[in-house]
Symmetry: none
Subunit: 323 residues, 2 copies
């Protein structure tokens, strides 16, 4: 029903509406018209013009990009690179008190991914999961990259059996038309035995091998505080979370939990995590994408103990990591 309405809309309604939105957005942002002018040029009321412009924005048709190395951010990035011997660091400005936890770093990550995919030589790129990466991919411009491969680093099956929403591999395949290699596994298996069984499947083994060859990977970092994404998304229970915290876990990447010294927690959920291991930091770039005070404890061990060798974060987080 919804689909039918959707289809009908696509056939005529929304199609031309999005067209108009793009027109309006172009006239507004590129040509610098006022909404009044747009209204008369498009033959609609001023209010409609305003709606079209804001539609173009909300549909992500218009993308603003800021090309200026802000000195302070550059400085922080250089010091992070130096201090933690990271290969690649990107620091974006902070907007204090803004609600969106991915603000800025999503845009920066989108640029980063686009840069990777704009290579002519085939690239294998590992992709984790999570809200931040999802937001980043949503911000990418459509591309046509059938020569590149994107491989999922984590399972994409939610606890209820559906494809997990924040799994990003499908989004990126759709946006950039890369070859895509999902990981048809739960993030955390029911038991260690089940995980072993799953990992024996030929297709999974192939995907895992591909991960090992990835030259660049992007991973989110999850905190293990009271609203840990791992719990929010139902991958671990409240009890398991408490147990993890008790064992010293402070953060998680791809489901793998680690403590303040960057050591993976032995036993508990890590025995059942079905994700690929973190890709090699020797042979490729592994870039963590995270910001925010609540993730600080999780980010710190990741960079201090070389769980990753790249970082995209914001000013405030960068300063906290250094201070």
């Amino acid at each position: 029903m919804v689909a039918k309405a959707e289809a009908a809309r696509r056939r005529e309604g929304t199609r031309s509406r999005l067209d108009d939105a793009a027109r309006a957005g172009w006239l507004y942002y590129v040509a610098g018209n006022t909404q009044d002018e747009i209204a008369s040029k498009l033959g609609v009321s001023r209010q409609s013009a305003q709606r079209l412009v804001s539609l173009a924005v909300s549909e992500k048709l218009v993308k603003v990009r800021l090309d200026h190395p802000i000195a302070h951010c550059m400085d922080l990035a250089a010091r992070l690179r130096e201090t933690f011997a990271l290969e690649r660091v990107e620091v974006v400005p902070t907007d204090p008190g803004h609600p969106d936890p991915a603000l800025g770093i999503a845009e920066a990550t989108a640029v980063e991914i686009e840069t990777v995919l704009s290579a002519t030589e085939p690239v294998t790129m590992g992709i984790g999961t999570g809200r931040t990466l999802k937001a980043a991919v949503d911000l990418m411009s459509p591309m046509d990259c059938p020569h590149h491969s994107a491989v999922s680093l984590a399972g994409n099956i939610a606890p209820d059996g559906s494809a997990a929403f924040y799994n990003v591999i499908f989004s990126i395949a759709d946006k950039a038309k890369t070859r895509s290699f999902p990981m048809p596994l739960p993030v955390i298996a029911a038991s260690a035995g089940e995980r072993a069984l799953l990992h024996e499947q030929a297709s999974i083994r192939k995907t895992m091998a591909l991960v090992a060859s990835a030259s660049i990977s992007f991973v989110g970092i999850g905190d293990l505080g009271p609203s840990a994404p791992l719990k929010e998304d139902g991958f671990v229970t409240a009890e398991e979370l408490v147990a993890l915290q008790g064992a010293g876990a402070v953060g998680e990447m791809l489901g793998w939990t680690y403590d303040a010294r960057g050591r993976f927690i032995e036993g508990l959920t890590n025995d059942r995590v079905a994700s690929s291991p973190l890709p090699s930091r020797e042979h490729g770039l592994v870039i963590a994408v995270a910001r925010g005070a609540n993730k600080l404890a999780a980010i710190r061990p990741a960079v201090t103990h070389r769980l990753v060798n790249g970082l995209i974060t914001d000013e405030a987080t960068a300063a906290a990591l250094l201070g």
Copy 2:
């Protein structure tokens, strides 16, 4: 001196100012703050915040990108308008390999005509002939415009004496209920003398006068290649076509043939063309409607030599005209 000022600026002044501009631009466009919020976050007055944002724009620190096929069309249109000093340009997306030579531009022309006719003030609109215009009028929504006048720019008598099929004046009168002024003449008279005789008729003189007062006109463009519409429709013979080509003719509007420099071919068929001259580009809009590789040679002189001051075409043709 410039270098010195530059150096001084880099040392303190503008350097940090551009930094601030970038920050302000970021907060404004990426984080979506109001300038008030930016002002307080940066600790400057609201006016200064506004200046920083506008500086970021004028310094091209912020770049907008529009991910929609329409954006490219708008871009091409703006460049055509600029390059050829045209008043009105519409560029529609190209569907590569689609057979219909009027695809897209017919729809766009229909919209254009409807817009003209939706005026409450009486308008006199000139209309040429041709498949493209015919297709455009067929796509119009029925209207009721007895206060507007449509006047044919070209004869509507086919060589066999019937009303020429691609004459559009009747279609538009029927569709929009405008007053209509056909041109009961052959497109090309049998001789220069016959043409002179025909043009002496009172009714024809009136119609011609009306043409001269048209504030907007739509004309098709015909190529003079092997399947020139002028030949296909039997207005010129194969021999005449060869002669025209020999004289350098590359295109035709309303039957008037012209060469690559936009000069009307002297002698030959132009001595007998019974159509009205092209309406004045000084006093009104004359919009050519054409697309396609085979018409490129005919379109180019029309726009470069101001035979028309408006153009409706498609992406591929627009790009070819510019490139």
